[in-house]
Symmetry: C2
Subunit: 333 residues, 2 copies
Amino acid sequence: MVTINDVARRAGVSVSTVSYTLSGKRTISASTRARVEKAIAELGYHPHAGARALASARTNILALMAPLRPDVDVSVIMQFVTGVVTRARTADYDVLLLTQDEDNGVGRVGSGSLVDALILMDVESDDPRIPQVAALRQPTVLIGLPEDARGVSCVDFDFEAAARLSLRHLTRLGHRDVALIGPPPAVIARHTSYADRLLRGYRAQATHDGVACVIEPTGTSRAEAIAALDAVLDQVPGLTGLVVHNEAALPVILGGLRRRGLKVPEDVSVVALAPADVADAQPVPITAMDIPALNIGQVAVDMVLARLAGSDTVETRLIAPTLHERASTAPPR
Amino acid sequence: MVTINDVARRAGVSVSTVSYTLSGKRTISASTRARVEKAIAELGYHPHAGARALASARTNILALMAPLRPDVDVSVIMQFVTGVVTRARTADYDVLLLTQDEDNGVGRVGSGSLVDALILMDVESDDPRIPQVAALRQPTVLIGLPEDARGVSCVDFDFEAAARLSLRHLTRLGHRDVALIGPPPAVIARHTSYADRLLRGYRAQATHDGVACVIEPTGTSRAEAIAALDAVLDQVPGLTGLVVHNEAALPVILGGLRRRGLKVPEDVSVVALAPADVADAQPVPITAMDIPALNIGQVAVDMVLARLAGSDTVETRLIAPTLHERASTAPPR
DNA sequence: CCGGATTGTCGAAGCGGTTCAACACCCTAG
DNA sequence: CTAGGGTGTTGAACCGCTTCGACAATCCGG
């Protein structure tokens, strides 16, 4: 293993000079810097991450706790993770990937000084992890808006507004017989923050627009999606408008509508809450509130890095939704 | 920060005793162990990861380099990542998530002693990362079979056999006018290992079964998928059988077939290479070679952990495919 | 031409663990 | 009763890096 000592010897300077050359925390003459850099290149020196972490109390690692379970929209997760990892790298940070279902992952990586900061996805309205991160000395960003954030920063897509705008798009087109096919029952039961806000927004808009508020959750499996569609058609016999927030169920629902002889958008208009590429990659391109998952991931990293850089402003950011019209919505005939 | 010193003082023993209690590398009397564990619990002690890494030359972190780009099948990636992370945690390892497109990520985390081992996804036939990992002291497992693995272990789904069996399934049903809609052109151009093997298998089986070998790559966007379907129908006018290996294109292709008045499976039989849940979540449940991505991830971790535990057997493992019949295949009429 | 800044470099003290060699103690066999 | 062999515990060296205080050399204005 080549250490900072080897570099120092080769460059004919002291270890501290090498360290300062690397960190730039003291001025180094151009000639010395050149000699050190040459030695580093020749030896292929990479500082030992553990030693650095020990001495500097910084690991340059971010923890990202993601819901690696099947009942979430994989595309959204993936894009979010991608946003986090790529942005983190631009600031010379690495990302440690954790699952939710570990007992006390937060405490382990936090108290163990394994990471400098945390990003928690899939936050619930009353998430048990919030007191855990609040007790940590590392800053944290939550994806989602818990009831009580306890001074922890939050960021998320504005699902409430997205639900409202989705329904409004349908009612403005003239649809009165509408329904929402939503996230899995388990997600709702957990009071996952985004699901709570989604339902709240949908309900508010339904009341506002004077249409019946029919909400049917559904899982990711084909059978569940079909059942949800059945239930919805049962409750709203002359259904002409559908809002769907369930990436996995989307194709099945479209197939189900077709099998009943219902054409999209001629007979039924469909609005989805999904990333743009998912909406576009359906049998019929779907009008959707595009979820900018990549962007949210980047913002989360920016927020957490700002805290690491010394800022102590705790903020909550909501990313405004935009409707993207594709081929799945039309006025009722 | 509570350190091992605090624990030692509180338990009335030396630091080395605490350390040995934690690691179990020396015998400790039951009473001492109890006192130490009590102190640890009371203080909420978590060993400092950096200090531990420095002293023991072990970080208990695995690097996972995943293709976080849009032209890959997100479900497969997600499931694989999930398999890796969950299995790693059972062995008290954490996972550092890296992207391919970083310049020298392998060298950075390897030489920098950030990780104990690496897992590389999306390996190309002549992957530039292979010499890099071969130069590292950390063991590595490749997902995919490069031409020259240079003594690095490999594991993957047997895409060659999967392609053969997919086509064979169609020809056995009596289909003669068949085609393959494959991975994105860029993936093929890169000579991604799985794409190479997929095409090889398909070609071999086409020759063996005496059918024309029509292969059309396609990207993940709707336009590309439609174009690919057009091209295929152009080349094979009386098409009755289709093999698809492109998760994102699948729904679009099904939509395109329908728009042309072609029913699945009455007019066209479709076999996919995809994870079971993806195949099931289509408008029509698709007969598929189920890609056991979760399992492959677990196996990759097992292999790398075996190397860390001292085994020096370099092996290549291929996971055999199994066909799962759903509702998308039937004899031609 | 001198005193005080400024600039560039260095030595050494940690950071918080692991692990080795040493040692005290107790048990048992001869 | 003693030699010999565990068993349980300890002190101290060490892992590779960062950073503080010290210091020599150079520069500048008065």
